[in-house]
Symmetry: C2
Subunit: 500 residues, 2 copies
């Protein structure tokens, strides 16, 4: 089993990511993506974009500013309530997150507990300062938004770095509705940064001060929530569910979408999207079913404006178990209503003569958390090698291309193969350094799905060997068939079945 | 001729971009990209990435945090000198950018002039407050960095939003050198946000407080600056140059790279990259040659650490002439030396036994400015239509796909074509709303390069018509040949030559 520290060390040594501002002793809560991290991140984002924007022809991607008007966050409630409880040591002044220090000791979740109760609990259980063992004398709410002074002198205004990409979709909803098809559901996707002044950033990419989110805000007519036109496609699809009532038994329940609607009293529109999200993890990313679940949050745990809130969780050994990597939030009309009130502009739209204030279903993904999870789930130690067994669709490169030796025209042939594959849109790289065994180890270590080798026979037969990273099996394929065969391989086909 | 206001209105109405936080009266210096803007931006970025990372196998993309340690910007000099002169009205307190109000009146450039001289010039020319006509009583330097308080209590630290993507490459240079090929030149590309507290944001995407840059930092051995291994490939390539000595004559000089080296005393390593940048504009983006030039900056105009500094400029009618859209900056060892001093960590690397502190050549592009420019250069009014004649390679979609009528299986056939093209990596969209003429107008208005129509003959002949947005000519092509023909068309081939 790999530890979180080991994973961070591997990520650093191999060029995926490391702490930001490292030459200055680093800055807690900030990570820089190195080149392989960028490839991996782009893969994940491209798959996400294609899959979720593909759910409906009326779904679009937008890129709002990261800095927005103060009123955006007044309306959303962020300025008032986007806060975490901070516990302060009376002796040394050290600040810690109050609910987390309780959680660490009592192995329970204390999210949503009042600051008074947190302080009482800390005292009751004799929890002391993590730095100096002094007494914790104060617990208060600490707002996590980052304010900024914009402009100078009389024109100076306050703006804020956004705390979630979602607000950028809400403030642009009306305008986007106007320039697009003027119908619901309208989906606005944003892949972008969000900023949170975390009291105690931790676990590398899991709790950061600057993070990347991929979120899809689906604006829909609340009168249609009990239906989804494609519900039939998923009604027998089995969801991995961990409802609140199972917290004691710790049991995951497999329910079909139809059963989830009946048994858990969830609307079809909501359950349809649970299915789509789960399919993204199991069918697109091809993660193991037993590693994935939806966890239902209790009323105390979820934000007050979420009527339904189930988190996506992955079971991550390096972090001691199930970790939230995103959530499916039915935010009702909370956000549009808030902006309507604060801006005095109507957020209603007109649908066949009917005035509608749309409701919002939010599919929210922490991109960095997802990448950390991919790294952990991929990490494999074998007898003679360590391998990153990324799902083929997200490995940082589709293939490495190697001439067996650096003479007799093998390099030129290999570069022709590189060019052919790049023309077909593959992300490949060429390597002619060191023995072929060493080059295979190198791609194993960074998780490249396929190794293509050009040998002397390749010159005669116009073919190449393709090696599967995971099984280490090889087959020979004609170069003209390579694009098609590599595509099928990356889609998950077994190598044996691809012989040309 | 289209004005800047008209362009901004078009961008808004058609769904490219608009001012941020618009429902709250908007926030100066911030723009949100709507769906078509996102497509256009991604196209530009993808072309940039492919072209510039393709210049050398040792060039990589990284994504550093936007918020960095205070010392990063101490070392870089941003905290001391990343400032603009602000002129303050003694009567109403209004703040304006001192050099710009002079520039507006005197039609000269006042960048780099001292605050004392600026105030004297303002008084001498009787320039008054733009708001109240009161007297301007003060000019002082205003630092444009955005500070942030990170964490809480005793652990609180100051961080900054980055003012240029470049610093993220410099602070990661040593680590990237170690995990990559350990050789020079090493190129680190970043496409990301930068933040500048502009005194007076203006001209939409031209001067923003939150902007996107695409920058390539090339770290090289200064001993090799007089050479470039591929200089021969460009020695007879003609550059569009506007040297400082031509400011009076206002004449662009066409010099070959070889002549530029000899006549302008520029090193080959620098001139080679001028050629590559110009080729990006003329051969990849296919912008008109006469719209592009490199402008040499004077010693007063350029940053003190730039030994050579030529800006890329495009001639934009809507902004009254030539506008900077990027620059080629030879920053010497200024940055690495600064970080070496401030961090007390050596930035030297070892090259075959030789200790080298690399020098940096920076290729810097303002992405938003480039997109604004594309929009202006594309905007065309014709007798019966307005068209956005984007270069085919950057149009937001590759093609629109239309069934002639919505019956008799034409829709299904059109959707098959859509699927075929998407499988081949094309970005297309399907539209069956309104008359075919209206649908053509719609794609003309948003600049889609090709329109594909499925009619009754298509069912019999398994073909489609492809219509060229610019010439409005049409040809019929077999559907099985469509991917190949569309690819050639997008590469710039004339429609007539593509008949199948």
């Amino acid at each position: 089993m790999v530890s979180s520290d080991q994973l961070i060390e591997i990520a650093k040594r191999r060029g995926f990511f490391w702490q930001g501002s490292a030459i200055y002793g680093s800055l807690a809560g900030f990570f820089d993506y190195a080149h392989l991290g960028v490839f991996l991140k782009r893969r994940w984002e491209t798959l996400w974009r294609k899959y979720f924007l593909g759910l409906d022809e009326n779904y679009y991607e937008i890129q709002p500013s990261l800095i927005m008007h103060e009123n955006v966050f007044k309306a959303s409630g962020h300025l008032e309530s986007f806060a975490d409880p901070v516990a302060k040591c009376g002796k040394c002044g050290n600040a810690e997150r109050a609910d987390h220090i309780l959680e660490d000791v009592l192995k329970e979740n204390f999210e949503g507990v009042s600051v008074e109760d947190l302080l009482n609990l800390i005292k009751k259980h004799g929890i002391k300062c993590g730095k100096c063992k002094g007494e914790i004398t104060e617990v208060r709410q600490f707002n996590m938004m980052f304010p900024l002074k914009l402009g100078v002198g009389k024109q100076e205004k306050t703006g804020y770095l956004t705390g979630e990409t979602a607000q950028g979709a809400y403030v642009n909803f009306k305008q986007m509705f106007e320039v697009c098809r003027k119908k619901l559901p309208l989906g606005l996707a944003i892949i972008g940064k969000a900023f949170r002044n975390e009291i105690a950033p931790r676990n590398a990419l899991i709790r950061m001060r600057e993070l990347t989110q991929a979120e899809l805000q689906i604006f829909f007519d609340p009168d249609t929530i009990e239906e989804h036109p494609n519900f039939k496609d998923v009604e027998n699809y089995k969801l991995q569910l961990f409802p609140f009532s199972n917290r004691q038994s710790n049991k995951i329940e497999e329910l079909t979408c139809k059963q989830a609607v009946e048994k858990l009293k969830l609307p079809k529109f909501y359950v349809y999207h649970l299915a789509k999200v789960q399919q993204f993890y199991l069918d697109v990313l091809k993660l193991p079913r037993e590693k994935f679940r939806f966890k239902q949050l209790s009323d105390e745990e979820k934000a007050f404006y979420n009527k339904f809130h189930w988190d996506m969780e992955l079971n991550l050994d390096s972090l001691g178990g199930w970790k939230e990597i995103g959530g499916v939030h039915y935010r009702t009309d909370h956000d549009l209503k808030g902006h309507q009130k604060t801006s005095s502009q109507s957020m209603e739209i007109s649908l066949e003569g009917k005035k509608v204030l749309p409701h919002v279903l939010e599919l929210s993904f922490g991109v960095d958390r997802n990448l950390y999870s991919l790294l952990e789930l991929a990490y494999t130690e074998e007898k003679d090698r360590t391998v990153l067994k990324f799902p083929r669709a997200v490995s940082p490169f589709d293939a490495g291309i190697f001439p067996l030796v650096n003479k007799d025209g093998l390099q030129e042939k290999a570069k022709q193969v590189q060019q052919l594959l790049e023309e077909h849109g593959f992300v490949v790289f060429y390597d002619d350094g060191g023995s072929i065994g060493r080059r295979y180890r190198r791609i194993d270590e960074i998780g490249v799905a396929a190794g293509l080798t050009i040998d002397y026979d390749s010159l005669k037969q116009d073919d190449a060997t393709i090696r599967d990273r995971d099984s280490m099996k090889q087959i020979r394929v004609k170069i003209k068939d390579l694009p098609q065969i590599l595509r099928k391989f990356l889609q998950g086909e077994e190598l044996e079945k691809l012989k040309s």
